[in-house]
Symmetry: C2
Amino acid sequence: MYLGIDLGGTKIAAGIGDEKLNLDKTIQKPTPQKREEILEEIRKIAEDFCSQFEIKSIGVGVPGAVNNDGAVVKIPNLEGWDNFPLEEKLNSMLPKKTYIENDANCAALAELVAGAGKKYDNFIYITLSTGIGGGIVIGGEIYRGAEGTAGEIGHMIIDVNGPQCGCGRTGCWEALASGTAISKLAKETPEITEEGKEVNAILAADLAEKGNESALKIFQKVVEYNAIGISNLANILNPQAVILGGGLTKRTKLVFDPLVEELKKRNVNTIIEKAVHETGVMGTIALAVKNTT
Amino acid sequence: MYLGIDLGGTKIAAGIGDEKLNLDKTIQKPTPQKREEILEEIRKIAEDFCSQFEIKSIGVGVPGAVNNDGAVVKIPNLEGWDNFPLEEKLNSMLPKKTYIENDANCAALAELVAGAGKKYDNFIYITLSTGIGGGIVIGGEIYRGAEGTAGEIGHMIIDVNGPQCGCGRTGCWEALASGTAISKLAKETPEITEEGKEVNAILAADLAEKGNESALKIFQKVVEYNAIGISNLANILNPQAVILGGGLTKRTKLVFDPLVEELKKRNVNTIIEKAVHETGVMGTIALAVKNTT
């Protein structure tokens, strides 16, 4: 068995699985604030699992860039992690060999090891979710770039006169077509409302699926922007396939199918696949499997 | 010595050089129309050089995508080249081992072998010229992608509501910031004029350098769009460096220096280098050198 630990901004999720990513026991803990407390929590989780199961190795996913030396470059919403040699540190603390990786890259690895990416050695994994992120696989390996920050696809500018992005620039893919962007548009649209429900991307999607025209219009634009983002990546990297994950992708009739159609219309011949794994723990188990077998 | 032959839409240029890309004799011929005539011209050039000099190997650059098997995928402005196994064909016709490669990738190789890319194994070469093209180097090798079309960076959409591009879409980087785009803007600007001179990108640049305000305005936007294109690539690929070539790059005070400034303002930390080689023959010699030594 392999242990995966996914460090998130609000929770630490962990679980064990085999080479084929059949998931067994999983647990979840709130993320402590300080780095030392987080490390201690990871140590406890690892020792718990390792005392109960025969664990071959451990994969740890982090919500930030990781460089080729296994150091965290930066975690946007957590303090004290800049240039922290996490892989080295964890290997000195945990009972089994431990690997670390950026969370979007872990999701790409889950598809590579036992998912929609199994038959490719050159693909881009894209998560269309609260944000838009990616993991690039070249030659069967994660491509991290010079400092580990490759795959920051959500901050590709596709409409320079578009809305403000959290990163300070305007018209980033993420500012136009992510869950956060949809929630913002929904809040500005009086027709998107339902008693007792929060107005956000999920409500907008639910209403669009029921035929609400204002909501449908939002999703038509979202599909178009996602097609542009994917088409840009296809022009730059010419991958064998693009694998789509994340909550938006799961809306098959509202997002996934129209997106595949829109890409065809734009003469993008790249194969589009739907991710088969949930992100999070699954990817961190894949990280351990990939490095061990 | 190594022989390089650069097949262009209007001329075939050839020359010889050594490992350090010191260029010796060069020649130039018009490009015949038909594929068989082009092949025959290449054969004649190769035999001529090989009878006069001691040639180790031959590099041939083509203005279209080349796949990992040495076949031409397509040459946009020449007929009869779709899926043509050019490397195999040339090796059956020419007196020395021959390699083929896309022309922008050849330009990247020239920088890698003996230019601004010598100290990197992971960079993006970008030509800012009539069009905008690129060559991606990963792990010291050209990255071609699944079908050989990787590096089509000029058709990255950065302003979806922008002007029409030759590719049929709108707002491509090339439609906003290439020599062709500048020529078009110049023609629409009455203030850009000089007796006896054609109104094009070169005149616009000359006038901007002399302080013509309308021309300067065009170049301010061009610099901004080029910064966006480069910033997008840096976010996606996190290369060690970006190497800029092509005619626009040579306008140091008008384009190159302001572009480096604009990238700093946008927090792009990637090292920006100026290409040291002319594109064309030099890159094809580099192709031969890279594959032989």
